[in-house]
């Protein structure tokens, strides 16, 4: 693939005396006449910290620059990339007291270049770290959940996929992924595009998009992505997971090469024997059909050997979960899929598997009765100004499955209402009541309640 964008770092030795002798040249000449380009050092190390909640990546780029005593001018340019120019910074990693960044100049009329004015008290090579934000590198998580035939346990396999459409190749990059939702007040892509004519940014984006699509097609056809031939069986890469303020940071073992317009998928999690709860839910407000859920908690699975990977050690990043059921014969059946939101450690994960016709609900109104009617005179006649309506309700549920289930029934009622029933229920808010039933395989249950709604002057709200 043709490399069409690059970051160039030039160490430019500006002749300081020139500034006073020839003001004009010094002002305009940093990249022209008054500059003597000495070296273009290669990258020593690059680290990518990619965020998934926003299109932003923090790039840490280490290089060794050779300084002369006095003022040094270093030019940094980033044609055809999506770097936020306001974020670019340089810091010495050694001799911190001898090297001072005096200022950063963004020359007139050159949108993708800056020049650092660095005062050095020493002569010789110094490792420096250049950091900046770029747009175009993203990562996503996705999961496969394999349930056993009895739907008691699942095996959860998580993967992370990194996609580079930043316009820049990152070779042998240490890659870190941040899980969490950060606040950004301006989009990096917009900052990167500022100063460009609008069309240009669109073009860059389109080029990137096309290339990614093309690559994905090639992958689907089973071509492309030829990895280096393996001499021996290699182990999957480990991922170190650490807390970072309110987020989590995943550091992928070793380094990765993520070329522009390529994607890479790596395993991040594999936990077996996670106990699940199968829940069926009927909700007036949310699902008008009986819907099936798997629930499990993102916490340590007990009785698991210490060395085995476990849940509850990290949050689960947002991602698509594809759920399969594995029959004892070994074959799989697709159960459903859902995008789950970030799950903190300890939180309960709920995967909506869609409507399930095997659990039935029948709701019937057995009797309607109007009571407590109050009237008021209205001219020569009178009119009803307040009344109650009593509904005797009967609900029949049936579990046609061969497994025991928990069934949640959420009913929504308007206005001023109350329930009279022997059944236990929870009031979730002023409109919603929830009944929870446990049904054995093949079991049928029936329960009754009376709903009283107060109208007109009888209503207390």
């Amino acid at each position: 693939m043709k490399k069409w964008a690059s970051i160039i770092l030039e160490l430019a030795l500006a002749v300081l005396a020139l500034m006073t002798v020839c003001e004009y040249a010094a002002l305009h000449g940093t990249a022209q006449a008054a500059v003597d380009i000495v070296t273009v050092p290669a990258r020593d190390m690059v680290q990518l910290t990619i965020y998934n909640s926003e299109d932003i990546t923090l790039v840490k780029d280490r290089r060794t620059l050779t300084f002369k005593k006095g003022e040094n001018q270093i030019q940094f340019s980033w044609a055809n990339t999506l770097i936020d120019p306001t974020s670019v910074e340089i810091q010495p990693l050694k001799n911190k007291n001898d090297i001072e960044v005096l200022d950063t100049t963004y020359p007139a009329g050159r949108h993708e270049t800056l020049i650092w004015n660095i005062e050095s008290k020493i002569v010789g090579p110094v490792p420096v770290e250049i950091t900046y934000f770029t747009s175009g590198l993203t990562w996503t998580a996705d999961y496969v959940a394999l349930a056993d035939e009895k739907e008691e346990k699942i095996e959860l396999v998580g993967k992370v996929k990194i996609t580079n459409s930043s316009g820049e190749d990152y070779e042998n990059a240490q890659t870190r992924l941040v899980v969490g939702t950060i606040n950004l007040v301006e989009r990096i892509a917009d900052l990167a595009g500022r100063g460009y004519p609008r069309k240009n940014v669109r073009e860059i984006r389109q080029k990137m998009k096309k290339a990614v699509d093309r690559w994905e097609e090639e992958c689907d056809e089973g071509g492309a992505m030829a990895e280096e031939p393996m001499e021996a069986l290699e182990k999957e890469k480990g991922i170190v997971k650490e807390g970072l303020s309110e987020y989590f940071i995943y550091t992928i073992e070793g380094t990765e090469t993520v070329q522009n317009n390529w994607s890479k998928r790596l395993p991040s999690l594999a936990v077996t024997e996670i106990p699940i709860k199968v829940v069926y839910r009927y909700s007036d407000a949310r699902y008008r059909q009986v819907t099936k859920f798997y629930k499990f908690k993102n916490r340590k699975v007990e009785d698991k050997p210490k060395e085995e990977p476990n849940l509850g050690e990290e949050p689960l990043p947002d991602g698509m979960v594809r759920v399969f059921k594995r029959f004892d014969s070994g074959s799989l059946a697709f159960v459903g899929q859902q995008f789950i939101k970030y799950m903190p450690i300890g939180e309960e994960v709920e995967i909506n598997l869609g409507a399930d016709p095997d659990v039935l609900i029948e709701r019937k109104i057995m009797k309607i009765e109007k009571t407590n009617m109050t009237t008021e005179r209205w001219g020569n006649s009178s009119r009803v100004v307040g009344y109650d309506v009593k509904y005797d309700m009967k609900t029949k549920v049936r579990n046609t499955k061969e497994l025991p289930i928990e069934f949640e029934i959420e009913r929504s009622f308007d206005g001023d209402w109350e329930l009279v029933t022997q059944m236990k229920y929870d009031k979730l808010d002023q409109r919603t009541a929830r009944f929870v039933l446990r049904l054995a395989p093949g079991e049928e249950k029936e329960f009754e309640y009376t709903l009283i709604q107060h109208h007109g002057k009888n209503a207390r709200r």
């Binding site: 500034m19 003001e23 010094a26 002002l27 305009h28 680290q47 910290t49 965020y51 909640s53 932003i56 923090l58 840490k60 306001t86 910074e89 960044v101 005096l102 200022d103 950063t104 100049t105 963004y106 020359p107 007139a108 009329g109 950091t131 934000f133 870190r176 941040v178 969490g180 939702t181 950060i182 606040n183 950004l184 007040v185 301006e186 650490e242 970072l244 303020s245 309110e246 987020y247 940071i249 829940v279 908690k297 949050p315 970030y342 903190p344 450690i345 300890g346 939180e347 949640e408 001023d416 236990k424 929870d426 009031k427 979730l428 808010d429 002023q430 929830r434 929870v436 207390r460 709200r461």
Partner: protein
């Protein structure tokens, strides 16, 4: 590319035309004194004051000094002429404005001939600048290093060479700034700044809990040296491996000394608040007048290993009163038929701060919770005298 049209910006032309009258065409360019120094003052946000010094050779009697500025954003009405030193007394008699030109002519009367140092001051527009901050917090999120940068963008049409730039924050810099050029300068570095990290839930804003850094601009927190100008604040944290990771950014408002700068960095997913309106009822009916009561319930979960300080913001309006405050622990999961709620001490955990009639803050000390053991906060609000 540089345009050639603005090269002769703001040139002072000294015209020594003794006895010449304004009825003649203006005679220009007798001598062009060099600008000896220029000060650029950025202390007022929307105004840029430039003051330049030049040395003129004055003749005894009447002198005309021609000042013109092509393609430069100078506020004509703001131009001032002052004599700093001269061989004798100097009076500025008048200023004339030639038609259709960006120019003016001072008529100056000098007691003696000789060199005079003059200072010309004027306001310029299109010298844009803004402040931006970069903060790096420590691992414990107790202290941070705050660096305040000044970014200047010179689109005035003028070239500043060796200008003394006086920013609002920090010391004077001597810099050259071409037209169209931008420059970023570290204005101030503040170390060991202590700050508070808070968790805030405001159902009016979003369903999730926000994580905020609060910087108090006072000496106690190693700030308080100056009013912090408004600007984008990017916050990083020491990653424990010799580097930093980005935590989020927010616009920081102008913060006077003694005030707080509050920055929303991101969502705190470990602190989960669910707010439910449980009931609304009329009460205390007096003819057409009534009160309305609302029962509120907040489920509070903290998946962290340590206690957090959570602020719940509520926004009632009108005449209101809060009653029936209760804090309970729910033991058992939500769908557990045997779950129960036990009341615990409100005062040990919650403090209500009435900021004003529309803003009430519940400060909650929230210990770690689990799905089987979580906190439930109840209160009732009575809206009075409605009809």
């Amino acid at each position: 590319m540089r345009s050639e049209t603005w090269v002769i910006a703001a040139a002072v032309l000294l015209v020594v035309v003794l006895g010449a009258t304004d009825t003649f065409g203006r005679i220009k360019l007798v001598t062009l004194p060099r600008r000896e120094s220029i000060d650029v003052r950025l202390d007022r946000d929307n105004y840029t004051l430039c003051e330049e010094e030049r040395t003129l050779t004055l003749q005894q009697g009447r002198n005309k000094v021609d000042f013109s500025w092509a393609n430069t954003y100078i506020d004509m009405g703001s131009i001032q002429f002052r004599v700093i030193s001269a061989p004798g007394k100097v009076n500025v008699l008048s200023v004339s404005y030639p038609p259709g030109e960006n120019a003016l002519v001072w008529t100056v009367s000098s007691e003696k001939a000789g060199p005079a140092k003059i200072r010309i001051s004027y306001l310029m527009s299109n010298f844009n600048r803004y402040y931006a901050y970069r903060a790096v917090a420590d691992r414990e999120e107790k202290k941070l290093t705050l660096r305040c940068f000044l970014r200047m963008q010179n689109s005035t049409g003028e070239r500043f060479i060796g200008a003394n730039i006086y920013p609002k924050v920090g010391d004077m810099y001597e810099r050259s700034l071409d037209n169209g050029e931008a420059k970023l300068i570290l204005a101030k570095k503040l170390s060991e700044v202590s700050f508070d990290k808070i968790y805030e839930f405001d159902a009016n804003r979003r369903k999730e809990t926000e994580m905020r850094y609060v910087l108090k601009n006072d000496r106690q927190h190693n700030l308080g040296l100056f009013t912090l100008p408004s600007g984008k604040v990017r916050i990083y944290q020491d990653d424990g491996h010799g580097g930093v990771a980005f935590l989020g950014e927010d616009w920081g408002a102008t913060t006077a000394t003694g005030e707080e700068m509050k920055l929303f960095l991101g969502l705190a997913k470990d602190v989960v608040v669910k707010r439910a309106l449980m009931d609304t009822k009329d009460e205390n009916k007096r003819g057409p007048i009534r009160d309305v009561r609302q029962d509120m319930r907040f489920t509070l979960e903290n998946f962290k290993k340590q206690e957090v300080m959570l602020r719940i913001l509520e926004h009632p309006n009108g005449q209101w009163e809060i009653s029936d405050k209760k804090l309970k622990i729910q033991i058992g999961e939500d769908t557990d038929p045997n779950k129960k709620e036990e009341e615990i001490s409100w005062d040990d955990h919650v403090e209500i701060e009435k900021k004003d009639v529309n803003n009430v803050i519940f400060h909650v000390k929230l210990p770690p919770t689990t799905k089987e053991k979580k906190y439930i906060l109840y209160y009732t609000i009575h809206f009075k005298n409605l009809w």
